[in-house]
């Protein structure tokens, strides 16, 4: 008999706080006058800060909760902070965006908070069924968010594509869980690794289960060949939502991947290694090559995010505490630069997101040097220039890969980073080296947006120049996973 204990509740305190604030925002929404809806955004932000405080309390009470289905360990707490950071930046960037696009509804903030709850559960769960529930909570919230501009054709289309392919992927993941359950009689990750100790236990049946689960996760990670939805969804969804989509669910799926492939399925050895190797190689190459031809900035960033998923997979394939901590470091760097870039695009694109072509940024640096410099930092960090977070993220991942003797994959990743510099620089060149009058220069950036951008830029330089503390934290967070 499992009884509910206070310690159990403390271990999911961040999720509880976020849920309460999410529900509160929904409940209060009809009572707030249309002109005051901004307040709901601030309330959601307060919820994120409250959850961050609650996480401190959780970290004092590490351990398993609810009969071993939730783990409050360094790994999950690291991810919870990452998700809260993302949610906070996205909310700061959305308040004025929604105002300008006449879509200021409280549900937006509630869905961001509830989606974050799902991601936190994905990272914290040690049971496949809880992971599945977390996946669905985050997915269903983000399906709605993708279609939040209801009257917009592109937003509709993005929501439908995301929904159909997302549910399709979920079915695969779930079928994998069913097979694992049939094979081992348990869905608990600890129980799984105990029953699948010997490589001889990896029969065809077990391998099929592994592949099915990987396919389900690969859709969320947008790795090749399961990336087809990514460009369309990222382009069609409202830009702040894209910021959220491109980081949150992806990082959560990486958390699950790490827990599964290096935890529960650790004994699968070569099978999982080659799955990771091949998908990392394909994802990097295709993401970067396709990005070269893009003229739409949101689409370009979508392909860039596919390529980044490839680099992160290199770290997962490398494994070991070095690989895991590199992946964790990279995810924070990726979150800062990607959210920053998308929030900037959201605001430069004007009402109705009309200005999203690279030409729309021509000559931006002459009229708005600060804005252009900020955007340049995001793109240079994505490209991996030294002194930025993107550079050190790549450096640690590649170093871990070399330590694990993945020479071929590392060479491929390095070549890919070189290719990627071309398309990131295209935007920087358009802003700085071409004359032109751009409508984007007239856009005002209110102070919440400036705050979000400043946090991202400072974060990028902090991670890039003084990585000691963040790297120490990511090494600490890698500890709970078996080596």
């Amino acid at each position: 008999m499992i009884t509910l204990q206070t310690a159990d509740l403390v271990r999911i305190l961040p999720e509880i706080v976020l849920s309460i604030f999410g529900i509160l925002v929904m409940v209060l929404e009809p009572f707030v006058a249309a002109a005051q809806k901004k307040l709901l955004g601030w309330m959601a932000l307060l919820g994120v800060l409250a959850a961050a405080t609650a996480t401190v309390r959780t970290s004092f009470e590490p351990g398993l909760a609810f009969g071993g289905t939730i783990a409050a360990d360094e790994f999950s707490i690291y991810f919870i902070y990452l998700f809260l950071l993302t949610a906070g930046l996205v909310i700061l960037g959305s308040i004025d965006y929604l105002e300008r696009n006449h879509a200021q509804h409280g549900e937006f903030y509630a869905l961001v908070l509830l989606g974050t709850v799902g991601m936190c559960f994905m990272a914290a769960s040690t049971d496949l069924i809880m992971i599945f529930l977390g996946l669905e909570i985050s997915s269903i919230s983000t399906y709605i968010l993708a279609g939040f501009r209801r009257a917009d054709r592109l937003s509709n289309e993005a929501a439908l594509k995301y929904f159909l392919l997302g549910s399709f992927a979920t079915a695969f993941f779930l079928y994998g869980i069913a097979f694992v359950y049939g094979l081992t009689g348990t869905t608990n990750l600890l129980g799984l690794s105990a029953r699948l100790m010997e490589p001889s236990q990896w029969t065809t049946f077990a391998r099929v289960a592994l592949v099915l689960m990987f396919v389900g996760l690969a859709f969320k990670l947008s790795t090749v060949p399961f990336q087809v939805w990514t460009p369309d969804v990222y382009q069609g969804a409202p830009a702040p939502v894209t910021a959220f989509l491109s980081v949150g669910p992806k990082a959560a799926a990486f958390a699950v991947l790490l827990r599964l492939f290096l935890g529960g399925f650790a004994s699968a050895g070569t099978v999982s290694f080659w799955i990771l190797w091949i998908s990392a190689a394909l994802t990097m190459c295709l993401g970067n090559l396709a990005a070269l031809w893009q003229t739409n900035v949101k689409r370009l960033l979508a392909y860039s995010s596919i390529a980044h998923a490839g680099y992160i997979l290199v770290g997962v394939a490398a494994g070991g505490s070095r690989g895991i901590s590199a992946v964790l470091f990279y995810l924070v760097a990726y979150a800062l630069m990607n959210v920053g870039a998308f929030i900037m695009v959201a605001h430069l694109s004007g009402t109705g997101e009309r200005l999203v072509q690279i030409e729309d940024y021509t000559g931006l640096a002459f009229e708005r040097p600060g804005v252009a410099a900020c955007l340049a930092v995001f793109f240079l960090s994505l490209a991996g220039f030294p002194t930025t977070a993107g550079f050190l993220g790549k450096f640690y991942v590649f170093r871990a890969a070399i330590h694990s003797h993945l020479i071929g994959l590392t060479v491929l990743a390095l070549l890919n980073s070189v290719v990627s510099v071309y398309y990131y620089l295209r935007i920087v060149v358009a802003m700085y080296m071409r004359e032109g009058k751009t409508e984007a220069a007239t856009v005002e950036l209110p102070w919440p947006v400036r705050t979000a951008l400043a946090v991202s830029v400072l974060g990028i330089f902090y991670l890039g120049l003084a990585p000691k503390l963040p790297l120490g934290l990511s090494t600490l967070a890698a500890l709970p996973l078996p080596k």
Binding site: F132, G147, N156, S167, F168, A171
Partner: protein, 100 residues
């Protein structure tokens, strides 16, 4: 007693039918129904395993899956209605505003 393999064969057939329908069907509602079919294939597998393992966990999971599928259907149909209002079409081929 019907052996486990029969149930699993049924489950695999349902799942493959659903996946094939997802790829081949052109109407959005049909595509969505194919996803539901896949989820039900999962349910059959869970039930069969639960029965033959002699544990109740699998039956419990089926309830989780049903609840999640219902939530997904609510959101999915709402999205489909929003799309239909904007385009007056539910054909997958018409969803091509964002081709390169």
């Amino acid at each position: 007693m019907v052996p486990l393999s029969h149930y699993l064969a049924l489950s695999v057939i349902l799942f493959v039918l659903g996946a094939a329908g997802f790829i081949l069907r052109r109407n959005v509602i049909s595509v969505f129904m194919c996803i539901e079919l896949m989820l039900n294939a999962v349910n059959v597998a869970f039930m069969a395993f639960s029965r033959f393992l002699g544990t109740l966990d699998g039956q419990l999971f089926v309830f989780f899956v049903i609840v999640v599928a219902a939530a997904e259907a609510a959101v999915g149909l709402a999205i489909i209605i929003a799309v239909y209002r904007n385009r007056e079409s539910l054909n997958i081929e018409d969803l091509d505003s964002m081709k390169m």
